[in-house]
Amino acid sequence: MSAISIRNVWKEFGDQIVLEQISLDIAPRSFVALVGPSGCGKTTLLRMLLGEERPSRGEILLNGEPLRPEPDADRGIVFQRYSVFPHLTVLQNVTIGAEFKRSPFLGRLFAAARRAIESEAQDLLTAVGLQGNEDKYPAALSGGMQQRLALAQALMRKPKVLLLDEPFGALDQGIRREIHELMLRLWNENELTVVMVTHDLSEAFRLGTRVVALERRRDRPEERERYGATISRDLPVWPPRIANELNSHRSRRDDPALDGASRDDPDAGCRRRHHELERT
């Protein structure tokens, strides 16, 4: 499966301590929402999970093994912007991952092999609602469509872990709502552990199975350099939301994602948590 263990991780940039003493165990198939004030190190933590940065102290394990120290196909990522390749069409953006896998020299497939992955990619595009846009370039898509494309692209390589850095931060409110549903569905249907950074508390509570807040314990200007952020809250979301067991019959229990999205006031539960978070 795909459990992540963060064990007593510190991160320093030169003299500045950004994160201190982060320990977190993430169960397989969780959806962890990471919140916290701007500049507290959320992106830094994500980049460590990605392997782009290494912890200054401590270690990160993926399924008990030390993390590969560079980004790789077992961890997918969606950024707020620049996630898709502007020079590739929508379809090519999705197939490129498979092409990398199967064609070590050219990074490109032809004929039958190409058609096979294209049909796979088509399915993914349909799943994210981009069917019919295969031959467009990303610049011709709206922001929301680009983020859907980025999701499809990331899912093509079937990563065990999906990392999201404010993926919907630049989207309009209405579009955001739609894409939240999509996100929940994708999480539900794929064997994914998700870690998502967000600024938006209601988004965190709407999507996550668990909300983790990072915060600096001491935040006076003169202390900024010397003290990093650490985990200040770690709340399971209520009512508990569990991903669909894949390949088991679907009706075994309510689909929590669809349930969450169709309740009349989806924010009610969240609000309570909000207050809890804000009471500091």
Partner: protein
């Protein structure tokens, strides 16, 4: 209304565009007429007829010695040199520039070196160039390559560094190797940008072509200009300069067209 908001209509715009050209042409014609009135043999500012005649005899009368039409032969030779040089420059820029911009090791190895190289005045190094690669066509092409390559390299490396880091990371999370990333993420995105850089370096390229042809050649536009400069044959020089300007303009337009045609995604992506 503010001048800033005055938008001339189509015909006014056309008129305004033509105005400076007309002024230059007019002042040429007047100065030329004045000088020719004083000395009918004056060579500095020949009349239009003189220039036309000179062009006619170069372009439409075969040279008795070589049997070629000098004007067209010069053009062909120069364009060939320029074409080869820019092709080599561009390919070299891609082969060296991509590793240099993409890999931290490449950057450490080359960026300073190329920065220094780009400051060396190539004309001053001609003697060494001759010794190393001789005096034939190769040396002319080499001079242009040496003159343009450092700029192309630096520009390319810069553009690669400007690529959002997110793209490179994304490519890695899709399982791409360094080679994959260079080939399928960086290279195709650099091609249209390289066209922009080539457009910018065409000016210097012409300059170096003319300089190279001035130094040792038996044909070419620069050769002819410098040859006839010995006897101040402005009736040949001016049409040649105009022709070079036209060719440069056409090359530039062709590159713009090529960029739009080959990389339809680029205009949109750049705008956004």
């Amino acid at each position: 209304m503010r001048v800033l908001n005055l938008k001339p209509d189509r015909s006014t715009r056309l008129l305004l565009t033509c105005l400076p050209f007309a002024l230059v042409a007019g002042s040429y014609l007047i100065s030329s007429a004045v000088r020719l009135a004083a000395n009918p043999n004056d060579k500095l500012l020949p009349s239009l007829e003189r220039m036309g005649e000179a062009v006619r005899s170069l372009a439409f009368v075969a040279d008795p010695r070589t049997g070629t039409y000098l004007f067209w032969n010069d053009t062909l030779m120069s364009l060939e040199r320029l074409g080869w040089a820019m092709l080599i420059s561009t390919l070299a820029a891609l082969c060296i520039g991509i590793p240099m911009g993409l890999l931290p090791i490449g950057r450490a190895l080359l960026s300073r070196f190329v920065a220094v190289l780009s400051m060396v005045p190539p004309l001053a190094l001609l003697p060494i160039l001759f010794i190393v690669i001789g005096l034939g066509e190769v040396s002319k092409i080499a001079l242009i390559v040496i003159g343009t390559l450092p700029f192309l390299l630096r520009d390319l490396a810069l553009r690669i560094e400007e690529l959002p880091r997110e793209q490179l990371i994304k490519a890695q999370t899709l399982g791409g190797s360094t080679w994959h990333i260079g080939l399928r993420v960086v290279l195709p995105q650099m091609l249209p940008r390289l066209i922009d850089a080539v457009r910018l370096s065409l000016g210097p390229a012409w300059l170096f072509l003319i300089a190279a042809e001035a130094i040792a050649a038996d044909s070419g536009l620069g050769y002819r200009i410098f040859l006839v400069r010995r006897y101040l044959a402005m009736d040949v020089i001016l049409p040649y300069v105009a022709w070079i300007t036209l060719l440069a303009f056409a090359a530039d337009a062709a590159l713009v067209w090529l960029q739009r045609k080959l990389f339809p995604w680029f205009a949109e992506a750049r705008a956004s």
